[in-house]
C-alpha cells in the first residue's frame, strides 16, 4: 500500500490544470441557484468553498458555513447521470430521397470529461448504469462513448445530509472502487489516493506532500463520522420478496394521496434509466428527427398500450417506482436499485421519503 | 358627382390584430355614416385584476395583447412600483429599455411586412408579396425574429414573457447569452438600414391632415419606457394628470372606448413619437433619416410606415448599445413591503401610449385598475381620418376601391383590437 499523500487546498488548481493538460474538460461542483450543480469548471476558486447544504424531505438549502472546505455538503440534484445518459439527444435523422429514405445516425459528442467530486453513492449508481447500458445484449453506443473517456475523481463524503442513507445500502460514504482518484477533505486540503494507473500518473504531476499519520487518521474519522451520523436507513438490503408480497398494501393508496406523480424522484435518481423516444417531422416534408429523452414511470407513456393505460392510478405508478427500485431491481441487476443518495427524498416537492415508505410497507 | 347610395360593410377587417368591422354608408355624395366597429367581446381584465396580488399583475395584463405584452407588463410594473416606492436601479432601467426595444422591433416589423406593405404594393397578403419580393419579406421576418430574440433573452419567450416582475426581472441572463444576442443584432443593423430606405421607396399616398400628436417625452432619450405626456400643441403633463386632459367615452357601436383630448381626436404611435422626439433619435438613426430624404414632423399618416422602420433602426441601435455594456447583476429585482396607494404607469407601446392606473390596499391587493390602450386613443382619429381621406379619394370611386382605400387607411394605424377590448372601469352616466 503506497504511502498516503496530501494535496493542500492551495494546490487544488494544479489538479484542474493537470486534468486539462491531459485533454479533459473538467466538471466540478459549483454553488448556483441555491443548489450544487456539476458544471464545467476552470478555476478551483469556482468550487463551493465554505458552502454547506441542509437537506430535508422536500427541501434543500445552501448556507454559508464557518469552515473553508469545498466539499462540506453531500450532493446536488444531479451528478454523473446527465453526463453519461443525456437528458435528451437525437438518435437519427431520416431524410426523404427521390425514391425512399436515407437514415443517418446522429453523432455522439466524444469529449472526455473528468469529474471532480464524485460521491461513493454516485459511483455505485454509475456501476449500475454501466451494467444496464453497456453490459446487456445491446450496448448503448451513446452512453458508451461518453462513459469511455470519463475520468472520476471521487471525494469521500464527510458531511452527509439528513436525507442520506448510503451506509445502510452499503454504497458509501467511502468510495471503494471504480475511481481514478479519491480525495478526503480536511480543513486545509485533501488526503489523496489513486485508484487507477491514470490516477497514478496524474498524482505524479501534482505538488503533493506526504500525508501525516494524523491527517490520515482525521480523514478516516471524517468518513466514519459520516457513516455514523446518518439518521435514515433503508430497512434491509434485499426487500424483493417482502415488497412483492405486499402489492395490495393499503400504504400504496395512502402515499398516492400525497404523491403528485411529478416524476422528480425518478429524474434525480442516479440509477433510473427510463427514456422515451420522440419523432419530429420537418415542416417541409424533407425528413424527420428521431430523439430520446429521459422519461419516468410516473408519466403517461410508461404504462400506455393502445387503448389502455396499464397504470392509470398514482398508487400504481408509485408502486412501480418503489417496487422496481427496491424489489425487481434484484432480478435485473442482482442488487437493489437504491444507492442511498437521498435525492428522491430531498427533491420530492412534497417530501415523500422512500425509507419511510419502505418501512411502512414492511409493517 | 353621382348621387348613388353605397352601403359598404366590411364584416371582418383583414390584417389587423383582433376583430373589427367597418360600416360606411354614403348617401347623396356624402358620408352619412362611418363607424369603425370593434365587436370583439370584452374580456373584462380590469375586473379580474381586482382582489389579485400586485405580483400577479404583470402575468395577467400581458394576456390583454399577444403582440405587445411587454408594453402591458412595463406600464403595469411602473405603476405598481410607484405605489410601493420602488426606484429601479440603472441595471433594471437599462434592461427594461432593452426588453422593450425587442417588442418595438418585433411588432413594427410584423406590421410593416405582414400587415401594411401588401397594401402599397397591391398584394392581398405577405405570402403573395413574397412571391415577387422574397428577399424583402425574408428580411422582415428576420428582423421580427430578432425582436423576439431580445424579448426572450430577458423574458424566456416573446409572447407573454415570464421574466418580468414588479421590481425588476426574475433573473439576470448570462454574459454568454448576451454576447450571442449582440452578435445577431449587430449583423442585422445593415438590414434595418436597408429596410428604412425601402419604406421610403414605397408608393405611399399623399394625404396630409391636421391633427394633434401625443406621445411621451423624456429628456435625453427617445421615449420608450417612461416620460411625461407631450403633444404637438404644447401639452406637457405628468402621467398622473392624464384624466385632466383626456376623456374616455363609450361609442355604442364598439366594445372599445374612445378617448379624446379635450373633445378632439388625436394621434398616438410611431408617427406621433417621431414628430415629437426627433432630436432624441440615436445619431445613427438621424443619419439614416437624412439618407432617406424624408422630412419629419410629417402629418401624412402614411409616413407611419417610415416612422416604424426608423424606430426599428433606433431600437436596434439602442439594443446593441445596451448589450455591449451588459453585465449580469446579483440584484435583478428590488422588493418592498406592500402598502396602500394609487400609482400610474405609462410607456410607449409600439402603437402608442399605454396608460395604467392601479389602486392597492395595504396588503398589496388590487382595489381597482384602469388601462387606456393606444387603440382606443387612436380610434376617434381613425374615424376622422377615414372621413377626410375617403372624401379626398372620391366617393364616386368604384366600391371595391373605396373599400380598399378605407382598409389601407385603417391598417396604417396598426390598430390592435385585442388591446382595445378589455373592460374599462369608468364612471359614465347612462343615458336615459
Amino acid at each position: 500500500m503506497p504511502a498516503s499523500r496530501f494535496l493542500p487546498h492551495s494546490a487544488l488548481q494544479s489538479l484542474l490544470d493537470a486534468l486539462t493538460a491531459r485533454g479533459y474538460a473538467v466538471i466540478a461542483p459549483q454553488a448556483r441557484d441555491g443548489c450544487i450543480v456539476y458544471t464545467e469548471t476552470r478555476h478551483a476558486d469556482e468550487l463551493p468553498w465554505g458552502i454547506r447544504l441542509e437537506q430535508d424531505p422536500g427541501s434543500s438549502r445552501t448556507i454559508k458555513g464557518t469552515h473553508r472546505q469545498a466539499f462540506a455538503w453531500a450532493n446536488g440534484p444531479q451528478a454523473l447521470k446527465p453526463l453519461v445518459f443525456a437528458p435528451s439527444e437525437p438518435l437519427w435523422r431520416i431524410s426523404r430521397q427521390a425514391d425512399g429514405y436515407a437514415v443517418k445516425a446522429a453523432e455522439t459528442p466524444q469529449r472526455p470529461l473528468a469529474v471532480i467530486g464524485v460521491r461513493a453513492c454516485d459511483l455505485a449508481a454509475l456501476a449500475i448504469q454501466d451494467r444496464h447500458f453497456l453490459h446487456g445484449p445491446y450496448p448503448d453506443p451513446r452512453y458508451g462513448a461518453r462513459r469511455e473517456g470519463m475520468l472520476l475523481v471521487a471525494v469521500n463524503c464527510t458531511h452527509p445530509a439528513s436525507t442520506c442513507f448510503c451506509a445502510s445500502t452499503g454504497d458509501g460514504p467511502e468510495a471503494k472502487t471504480d475511481f481514478d482518484l479519491a480525495l478526503t477533505e480536511l480543513d486545509d486540503g485533501f488526503v489523496i489516493e489513486a485508484g487507477s494507473a491514470e490516477g497514478e500518473q496524474i498524482l505524479a504531476a501534482l505538488p503533493l506532500q506526504d500525508a501525516r499519520a494524523a491527517q490520515v487518521e482525521a480523514a478516516a474519522a471524517g468518513i466514519r463520522h459520516a457513516a455514523e451520523s446518518q439518521t435514515r436507513a433503508i430497512p434491509g438490503r434485499n426487500l424483493r420478496d417482502a415488497l412483492m408480497a405486499r402489492l395490495e398494501h393499503p400504504r400504496w393508496q395512502e402515499v398516492a394521496q400525497r404523491c403528485l406523480a411529478c416524476g422528480n424522484c425518478t429524474m434525480v435518481c442516479p440509477t433510473c434509466f427510463c427514456h422515451a423516444e420522440t419523432e419530429q417531422p420537418e415542416l417541409d416534408g424533407s425528413g424527420s428527427l428521431h430523439s430520446r429523452e429521459w422519461d419516468s414511470c410516473f408519466g403517461e407513456r410508461h404504462g400506455y398500450i393502445h387503448g389502455k393505460q396499464l397504470r392509470p392510478e398514482i398508487s400504481q405508478r408509485y408502486r412501480q417506482w418503489l417496487t422496481h427500485k427496491l424489489a425487481s431491481w434484484h432480478d435485473q441487476f442482482g442488487r437493489s436499485g437504491c444507492v442511498g443518495c437521498g435525492r428522491c427524498i430531498a427533491w420530492c416537492p412534497v417530501g415523500i421519503d422512500i425509507t419511510e415508505e419502505a418501512a411502512a410497507l414492511l409493517k | 358627382m353621382s348621387n348613388r347610395t353605397v352601403n359598404l360593410n366590411v364584416p371582418v377587417l383583414a390584417r389587423v390584430e383582433g376583430e373589427g368591422a367597418l360600416d360606411l354608408s354614403i348617401a347623396n355624395g356624402e358620408i352619412a355614416e362611418l363607424r369603425l366597429r370593434i365587436f370583439e367581446p370584452p374580456r373584462l381584465f380590469e375586473k379580474f385584476l381586482e382582489g389579485r396580488s400586485y405580483l400577479e399583475v404583470p402575468d395577467m395584463v400581458a394576456r390583454i395583447c399577444g403582440i405587445c405584452p411587454v408594453a402591458y407588463q412595463i406600464s403595469a410594473v411602473q405603476a405598481l412600483e410607484s405605489v410601493l416606492g420602488i426606484e429601479p436601479t440603472p441595471w433594471i432601467r437599462d434592461m427594461r429599455r432593452l426588453f422593450y426595444c425587442g417588442e418595438w422591433i418585433e411588432s413594427h416589423s410584423l406590421h410593416i411586412h405582414l400587415l401594411a406593405a401588401p397594401d402599397f404594393l397591391g398584394f392581398a397578403n405577405a405570402i403573395d408579396m413574397a412571391g415577387k419580393y422574397p428577399d424583402i419579406v425574408r428580411r422582415g421576418l428576420k428582423i421580427q425574429e430578432a425582436g423576439n430574440a431580445i424579448i426572450s433573452f430577458l423574458g424566456g419567450r416573446s409572447v407573454h414573457p415570464v421574466g418580468v416582475r414588479v421590481g425588476g426581472f426574475w433573473h439576470a441572463p448570462s454574459t454568454a447569452a448576451a454576447a450571442k444576442l449582440l452578435a445577431e443584432l449587430e449583423a442585422l443593423l445593415p438590414e434595418a438600414e436597408a429596410l428604412a430606405l425601402w419604406t421610403v421607396s414605397l408608393p405611399l399616398p399623399d394625404e396630409t391632415q391636421d391633427f394633434e400628436c401625443v406621445s411621451l417625452g423624456h429628456a435625453g432619450e427617445y421615449p420608450i419606457t417612461r416620460g411625461s405626456i407631450v403633444s404637438s400643441r404644447g401639452l406637457d403633463i405628468g402621467i398622473a394628470e392624464f384624466d385632466n386632459e383626456f376623456q374616455e367615452s363609450h361609442a355604442p357601436h364598439s366594445t372599445a372606448l374612445h378617448c379624446h383630448h379635450r373633445g378632439q381626436d388625436y394621434l398616438v404611435g410611431p408617427l406621433a413619437r417621431m414628430n415629437l422626439n426627433l432630436d432624441q433619435l440615436p445619431s445613427a438613426t438621424r443619419k439614416l433619416l437624412e439618407a432617406c430624404g424624408m422630412r419629419f414632423p410629417s402629418f401624412n399618416l402614411f409616413h407611419s410606415i417610415v416612422a416604424r422602420a426608423l424606430e426599428i433602426h433606433a431600437a436596434l441601435v439602442e439594443a446593441i448599445r445596451l448589450l455591449r455594456s451588459y453585465a449580469p447583476t446579483d440584484a435583478p429585482y428590488l422588493e418592498a413591503a406592500p402598502r396602500a396607494g394609487v400609482g400610474f404607469g405609462a410607456s410607449e407601446a409600439p402603437r402608442g401610449i399605454l396608460w395604467h392606473r392601479y389602486e392597492l390596499d395595504g396588503s398589496g391587493s388590487i382595489v381597482s385598475a384602469r388601462i387606456v390602450p393606444p387603440t382606443s386613443q387612436n380610434q376617434a382619429r381613425i374615424e376622422a381620418d377615414l372621413r377626410a381621406s375617403l372624401n379626398r379619394f372620391g366617393l364616386d370611386q368604384p366600391e371595391h376601391e373605396i373599400r380598399q382605400h378605407a382598409e389601407t387607411v385603417i391598417r396604417n394605424y396598426d390598430p390592435c383590437i385585442s388591446c382595445a377590448t378589455h373592460f374599462l372601469k369608468l364612471n359614465i352616466k347612462k343615458k336615459a
Binding site: 415542416l283 416537492p349 | 374580456r43 413574397a130
Partner: protein, 261 residues
C-alpha cells in the same frame, strides 16, 4: 398541383392574438408552411374566407359571445380536422375567470354606457364545450414548435402527439434547480402540462400553470402542500384560478379553496 395542397384556416375568437403569432412569428417556417399548404382563411394575415372547406382549421380564442356559437359550428362543419390552439380555445382562457362569478353578469351593464350593444355570454367556454375538437394544443401562448410540429405531423398524415407530462420532468431534463425545494416557492410545475420548456423555473420563479393541467395532476395534494408552504386559502385558490381556471382539475380545487377561505 396547387389544388392538391392541404388547405388550412386560422380562426379567431375571444383572445389576445398571441397564439396566432405561433404562425406569424415563425420566420422562414412561415414561408415553408405557405408552400406546403394553401391558406384560405387567416384574417390577421390577410386571407378572408371563413366558410371555406379546409383540411385543418386552427382555432384561437374562447367562445364568449352569442355570435361565437354559430361561428364555431360553421368552423366545425367546414373543417376535416379541428385544432384548438392555446388556453382560451382549449380551456376558456383567462377570461373564464368570470365563469361562475355572480356579480360578473352586472359588470358589463354597470360600466358601458350602452350595454345593449355589448354582446357577451355569461361564461367564457372552451371550443370543446360546443363542438368536437380533434386536437387540443395547450399553452398560453402555444409555442411555434407545438403548432408547427403538429402541423408537420398532420401534413405527414399522422395524428400529432400531445404530451401531458408535468413541467417538472422537463425542468429536470434542463438541469434547473427546483425552486420549490430550494426556495419553498409555490410552483405549479408538478401539476402543469409541459410544453413551455420549463421557462419559469428557468428564470427562478414559480410556474403559474399557463399550460393547464398535466395528464394525471394531483391538484388536491398540490393545494395542501401550498398551504403547508405558507399560502392562505385565497392565495391557494388564486394559484389554480388563473390562466386556465376553467380546466376541470384546477377549477375544482380552486373553487373549493375560494369557497372555504
Amino acid at each position: 398541383m396547387k389544388a392538391q395542397r392541404p388547405r388550412i384556416a386560422v380562426h379567431k375568437f375571444a383572445s389576445c392574438d398571441g397564439c396566432q403569432l405561433a404562425f406569424l412569428n415563425a420566420g422562414e417556417a412561415l414561408l415553408t408552411l405557405a408552400q406546403r399548404v394553401e391558406i384560405l382563411h387567416f384574417a390577421e394575415a390577410g386571407w378572408l374566407d371563413p366558410l371555406a372547406k379546409v383540411d385543418i382549421a386552427f382555432v384561437e380564442g374562447s367562445i364568449s359571445a352569442p355570435h361565437d356559437i354559430e361561428r364555431i359550428r360553421a368552423v366545425r362543419e367546414s373543417a376535416k380536422f379541428l385544432v384548438t390552439i392555446g388556453a382560451c380555445a382549449t380551456a376558456g382562457g383567462l377570461q373564464a375567470l368570470r365563469n361562475g362569478v355572480k356579480e360578473a353578469a352586472g359588470w358589463v351593464a354597470d360600466i358601458y354606457a350602452s350595454p345593449q350593444y355589448i354582446e357577451s355570454l355569461p361564461e367564457s367556454r372552451p371550443v370543446s364545450a360546443h363542438v368536437k375538437v380533434d386536437l387540443e394544443i395547450w399553452g398560453c401562448p402555444v409555442t411555434i414548435e407545438q403548432v408547427l410540429g403538429a402541423t408537420a405531423s398532420l401534413l405527414n398524415g399522422v395524428t400529432p402527439v400531445n404530451p401531458g407530462e408535468p413541467v417538472c420532468v422537463e425542468c429536470k431534463r434542463r438541469g434547473h434547480a427546483c425552486i420549490m425545494v430550494t426556495q419553498n416557492a409555490p410552483c405549479m410545475g408538478p401539476v402543469t402540462r409541459t410544453g413551455c420548456g420549463a421557462l419559469c423555473p428557468g428564470v427562478g420563479r414559480a410556474c403559474y400553470g399557463c399550460f393547464g393541467p398535466a395528464e394525471l395532476p394531483n391538484a388536491v395534494s398540490m393545494a395542501k402542500h401550498f398551504e403547508q408552504a405558507g399560502l392562505d386559502k385565497r392565495e391557494v385558490a388564486r394559484r389554480f384560478l388563473f390562466i386556465t381556471s376553467a380546466a376541470q382539475p384546477f377549477a375544482d380545487v380552486g373553487r373549493h379553496y375560494k369557497e372555504n377561505e
